[in-house]
Each structure stands twice: as C-alpha cells, then as structure tokens.
C-alpha cells in the first residue's frame, strides 16, 4: 500500500507543478496589470502588417503540406507507442522480438520511402 501512496504522491507533485506553471503567468500578468500603463489608441490595436493597413482576413486556409506533415507525425509518433514498451522489456523478450521489431520498423521505413518517393517530404 505504501507504494501506492508513493505513486499517488509523485503524481501529486506533477499536479502541483501544473498548478505552479499556470499560477506564474496569472500572477505575473495580474501584477503587470497594476504596474503597466493603459493608453489605448486605434493604431495600437490594429494588426501589424509591416506598416500597411491590414487587408482581408488573415485566418486563411493554410497550405495542405502542413496536414501532410501532421499525418506523417501521427504515424511515426504512434510507432513509438510500440517501440517504448518493446525497448523497456527487451531483456525478457530476446532476439525474436528484435526480429519482429525489425520487420515492424522495415515496414514503417517502407512507408517513409513511399512518402519520400511521392514527394510528400518536399517542402515547397
């Protein structure tokens, strides 16, 4: 049961850190509000566009290639879901699991090569 407490305490620390991480900006910005001046004028609140009057909406649909990278990221990031446990348990799993992981990684590499060939990795 003690280990259970240890476990809980460790995550309690994480929670406290989260709290602190949020607290600092809040405190600092609140403090700043008391200190800083407030002299609004229309120019200050226009969007910066190198000194030109901003024209049309800037919330544009961004380039598709960002999505493609996001897709690649998702796929390879999830790969690590399998790699981490495998690496941790490597001692018990042994050579056969290494071979299996080899197959797994080779197939994924094939995916990478595919993306490469299809010019997904090309920026511009």
């Amino acid at each position: 049961m003690d280990f259970y407490h240890l476990y809980q305490n460790n995550y309690l620390i994480v929670a406290v850190f989260l709290f602190l991480g949020v607290l600092l900006p809040v405190v600092a910005l609140t403090a700043g509000r008391l200190l800083r001046p407030y002299k609004p004028s229309a120019e200050k609140y226009t969007t910066y566009e190198s000194g030109i009057e901003p024209f049309h909406q800037s919330w544009v649909q961004y380039n598709v290639r960002y999505y493609l990278f996001a897709l690649m990221f998702v796929i390879f990031d999830v790969e690590t879901v399998f790699l981490y446990p495998w690496a941790v348990a490597y001692e018990e799993l042994g050579v056969f699991a290494l071979i299996e992981m080899g197959i797994f990684v080779v197939l994924l590499t094939l995916g990478l090569v595919y993306a490469w060939k299809k010019k997904v990795l090309k920026w511009t």
Partner: protein, 333 residues
C-alpha cells in the same frame, strides 16, 4: 524526511510542502533563465568579438536581464482588436505550463528529484509536446498573417523533429531497460550512454536544438522573414512568457540530455568525491554552452532543408540507431 513524506497518505500537508519545493525550483529556474540570457548574449558577444551587455548592474551587465524583465512588466499590453481574445490570452499559459511541468521528473542529483515517475521519459516526451499547441494557438489567435505563418512553421518543425527525438532515445531505453530517469542514470554508473549510442546522441542533440527553435533551426522566429514569427502581436509580459518558455525548455532539454546521455550526476571515475549535484551542473553547463556556441557559429537553414533534414536524415538515422543499439547490447553487454 522526504522518504516518509512520499510513502505517507497524501493530504493537504503534502500539497503545501510540494508547493513550497516547487516554488523554490521555479525561482531557481527563473534565476537560471535570467542569467542564461545574459550568458548567451555574453558568449555570442565574445564569439562575435564584442563585449555584449555591460552597462546595467555593474561591469558585466549582471542586472541587464533583470532590467529587461522590469521593462517588460511595465510595458503597455496590447491585444489587437481582431484577435481571438480568449485564445490569445490562453496561448502563453499553455506554452509555459508544460515547460515547467517537465522539470518535475528530472533527477538533478541522487536525492534531488521531485517526482520519481515510472514512466519519466515518456512523461517528458508527452508533456513537452503540449507546448506546440500553445505556440500554434498564439499564432492563430493573433489574426495576423505573419504570426499565423510563424505558428504553422513552428508547429511543423516541432512535430517533425519530435519524431527523431523520440526515437533516438530508444537506444537509451534499451540499455537501461526502463523509462524511469533514475534508473537510466543509475544504468550509466560505469559508462555514459553517449559512448554506447553515439548516433542516438547526435540525433537527439540536433533534434533538441530544433525543438527549442534555436538557430540554426529558428525559422519560426526568423526576424528577417516573418518579423518575429508567431508572437509578433504579443507584447509586454505575454511576450515574455513565450521567451520564458523557450529558456525553460533550454534548461529542461539540457538537463534531459545530461540525464540520458551524459550520465546525470554520475561522476567521472576517480573523481567521485565531488558531489553529484556538481557533476550534474558541470555537464549541464557544457550542453547549454554547446547550444549557445552552435547559435553563434551556424547560419540559419532554409525551410525546405529544415524539413527534409528531419525526415530524410535524422529519422532514418534514428531508426538505424535502434538496431545498432540492440546489436551493441547483444554483443558487448
């Protein structure tokens, strides 16, 4: 005392104590950031054969950053009329909080660690990923073309380099057989993992620089192209928090590098009379210096080079590293 505390039933006392300790760390980190910025400017100045800041706070400009902070604190805070206000305000917080959270699990010395998580490394990787959302959010909420582009670029870069970063540490996990950072450090009592998995270290180091958006990978903030990237509309202390995030991450990443590859608090043989904390500090400082050094030396990459470098060089290397590491483990350990 700490042991007992940790094994006891959690309660509000715990919260209080942890809060105090966390706050102490926070102060330390802020101190580090203050002087890291100064150090960076100094080192850069030195490399570029100039003096760097030297007016405020004595001969070495010791209070330069402190003054900067105060300047930021009393600067007027503007939020553009067109911006998405709630997201605009939320963004710096979301960027900063994870940066501080990851510090919870770093073992600075044998008994100087806050949360000894079983999945420490995974925790680090997972939580640090959240910052990207903050940056993206900031870029989007500003409703500014520059910042949107900067935010998108930052996000693209961060996710691209996250992959090699995450995979390059698998060698370390293989050797340590654990995701617990303490275990990893203990695994390096005899030999630091940098020697066992040099490719991994190489990939990790480069990816971490890219993750930190530092030169030569600082495209999201490319002043000459995108003004200031995703935080172009931010001013005052809100902007400061993005900067703070960056430097806290520098702190965290340097610590992680130390822990994973440089042996953490483990001393170099025969020098174990020096306390572990100090060893850690030394190794940590070397990493930080290295990063500043790189910034001073290398030019910025082109956007397309940046992306293809991650996917076409680092990722295959990282994948290769898995099997090299496994082979090393099979053959030599």
């Amino acid at each position: 005392m700490m042991e007992e505390l940790l094994y006891a039933q959690p309660g509000w006392t715990h919260v209080a104590i942890f809060f105090a300790l966390g706050a102490a760390l926070l102060v330390t980190v802020l101190g580090f950031v203050t002087y890291a910025i100064l150090a960076e400017r100094k080192v850069l100045g030195f490399m570029q054969m100039r003096t760097g800041p030297n007016r405020v706070g004595g001969r070495f400009g010791l209070l330069q950053t402190v003054a900067d902070v105060f300047k930021l604190l009393i600067k007027e805070d503007t939020i553009p009329k067109l911006a998405d206000r709630p997201l605009f305000i939320l963004a710096p917080v979301i960027a900063f909080a994870p940066a501080f959270m990851v510090l919870a699990t770093i073992p600075f010395s044998e008994n100087m660690q806050f949360a000894d998580l079983g999945v420490g490394l995974l925790y680090y990787v997972a939580v640090s990923g959240i910052s990207t959302i903050g940056i993206l959010m900031g870029g989007w909420a500003s409703n500014n073309k520059y910042s949107l582009l900067g935010g998108m670029r930052a996000a693209a870069q961060m996710i691209s380099y996250e992959i090699p970063l995450v995979i390059s540490v698998i060698g370390v996990i293989l050797f340590a057989g654990s995701l617990n950072l303490n275990d990893i450090v203990r695994g390096q009592e005899n030999i630091a993992y940098i020697f066992l998995t040099p490719i991994g270290f190489f990939v990790f180091l480069i990816s971490s620089i890219a993750e930190l958006n530092r030169t030569p990978f600082d495209l999201p903030e490319a002043e000459s192209e995108l003004v200031a990237g995703y935080h172009v509309e931010y001013s005052g202390f809100r902007w400061a928090f993005f900067m703070l995030t960056e430097y806290v991450y520098l702190f965290a990443m340097a610590s992680l590098t130390t822990v994973l590859f440089l042996g953490g608090w483990n001393p170099i043989p025969f020098l174990d009379f020096i306390p572990g904390m100090l060893w850690f500090g030394v190794k940590f400082s070397i990493v930080v210096f290295f990063m500043i050094w790189i910034r001073g030396t290398l030019p910025r990459l082109r956007a397309d080079q940046l992306m293809s470098f991650a996917w076409k060089v680092l990722l295959p290397l990282a994948l290769l590293n898995i099997f090299v590491s496994a082979a090393v483990k099979e053959l030599f350990l």
